[in-house]
Amino acid sequence: MYTFSNRLRLFAIISMILGGILVGVSFATTPGSVEEMKAHEAAHGHGGHGEEASHDDGKTAHHDDHKTDAHATNDHHGETSHDDAHASEGHHDAGAGHHNSAKHDEHKLTQLQNKPWAAIYIAAFFFMMISLGVLAFYAIQRAAQAGWSPVLFRVMEGITAYIIPGTISIIILLVLCMPSLHLNHLFHWMDPKLVDPDSEIFDTLTYGKKAWLNVPWFLIRAVIYSAIWVAYRQLSRKFSLRQDDADDNSNFKKNFRLAAIFLVLFLISESMMSWDWIMSFDHHWFSTLFGWYVFASMFVSGITVIALVTIYLKSKGLLPYVNDSHLHDLAKFMFGVSIFWTYLWFSQFMLIWYSNIPEEVTYFVTRIEDYNLPFFGMIALNLIFPLLILMNSDFKRLNWIIVIAGTVILFGHYIDVFNMVMPATVGPNWSLGMPEIGGILFFLGLFIFVVFTALTKAPLLAKRNPFIEESKQFHY
């Protein structure tokens, strides 16, 4: 049995409190009105935020120049897409907002007010996604009757315990995004004026999607997805624990069937979840492989966290039957799925870049213009570094290599979620500052607290699993 070490518990609690304070402070310092925003900018003149703002202006100006150069040789699609990017970014002010300074200020204020919300949302989604990725990995191991992994089942079950607080926190955030609460403008399609034909900001595209994108159905779907995942996690855990004291393998077989059913439901629900919880931030944009792309991101983060938790528990001497071959296999998965993620990232990017269709390409235009470093830096973090460091078979057996690669991969996939959410919610006003770090710290603390509490609830070795002996003897 594992006992939650006091030091780790303290770390988790401090992390949560510190994160909560940072998020609270960033909410408190968010400007409430345009005047406040202007006063804040003036006070900070040429330092801090002011510099950042002028830097952004410079960047936009540069791109405007660039547009006339580079796009001049391009066909008209380039120009249209560029304008379209600003229009959709400009919250449907029909392009006028770009030159209308009052509207521009209001627009910027909305983005600044969205910032702490988006930061929390990203962190909440990131940690929920890790535990969902582990749940999918766990179900695959069960359905495939893998012989190497049963010694890691309890670690995976511990991590998937976070699926409950994870989905709950996401649902709470989705509820708080409802426009009737007037808290933020994260999901812009929720604005009832957009689908009101009499409104001056009526948006035909959103109107066409309102059968899917409407608040009640959106929340019902969120509950359905969460229910599927939580139900599988709880049932599977129950059968797994029962198998420990059983006389036959009926619980094991139930778990096998359950995993097969779950995987079908998971792929459907995960795909739709990615449209709802991520893609609908850019509600004018659509991509068919988006569900897979989000899946690859959560899968690699999940496997990485399994490896990190395993290494931690092993360093405490709690997993004597886990050998470096198990870690080698996990590292191989980290390596392979990192490449898979990049394959999907590139497939999505390259197809859209190549055809350059205005309604699709705006997504990447805003990201390349405003998020250049995170957008392309992600490739270094999520592909090049793991590719080079985890290619060597000997390196995959070294704990410190896996920890370093894992940390980089996790940071890279946080940036991935950041890149998916931020451009549509805060536009060019992004930074990795107080709200973002606060959000990460808060949910990291919660994650550690929940996961390691769950790990104390059951022995770390599944006893009567038919494959447990093979798994203990596993060597590669």
Binding site: T73, D75, Y354, M391
Partner: protein
């Protein structure tokens, strides 16, 4: 220097594995082991050095990537930067996404093919090569261990090999 070898025949891979360990314990040099299929762990038991084929493949892959990059940079950007369907051919980086499929395939092509050729060369395999099989049964269901004979240890060695479970012992001149 005599070039005599003892060839011991085995009919089971487990027996062969323990025989290999025993012979190595007694400090005899195993010239070669012939098996009809890969015996897991035999290389470790024989103390063979790990292969470096994967390292060569990595280097060949780098060559392939360099070839693809240089080729397309020269053809598409330097030599004749045409406007083809509005694709930006001003610099390599601007048009890079379009080159990635070729860069990837060339990397794989070079890594795979050159590694296979390296394998053939290092294993001395080619068409019309004379087979080096000491006994045709080793391609079917027999295992054969070849141990070098030094001076007068022939009888002692025969006894040792018989004790490890060899079904046949043959002393011949070394051919290869």
């Amino acid at each position: 220097m005599s070039s005599k070898v003892i060839q011991a025949m085995y009919t089971d891979d487990d027996v062969l594995m323990s025989a290999v360990k025993k012979v190595r314990q007694e400090n005899h040099h195993i010239e070669e082991v012939y098996t009809p299929f890969p015996v897991h762990g035999l290389d470790k038991a024989m103390g063979l050095a790990p292969t470096r084929l994967a390292i060569t493949a990595f280097m060949y892959g780098c060559v392939g990537l360099a070839v693809a990059t240089t080729m397309m940079y020269y053809i598409m950007i330097v030599d004749w930067p045409q406007n083809i369907g509005g694709k930006p051919s001003f610099s390599f980086i601007e048009n890079m996404p379009a080159f990635v499929p070729i860069m990837f395939e060339m990397t794989v092509f070079f890594a795979a093919h050159l590694m296979v050729i390296t394998f053939y060369m290092r294993s001395k395999l080619w068409p019309f090569k004379e087979a080096e099989n000491p006994d045709p049964r080793t391609t079917d269901d027999h295992f054969l261990m070849e141990v070098a004979v030094h001076g007068g240890n022939e009888e002692e060695l025969t006894a040792l090999l018989l004790a490890t479970g060899a079904t046949e012992i043959k002393v011949t001149d070394k051919k290869h």
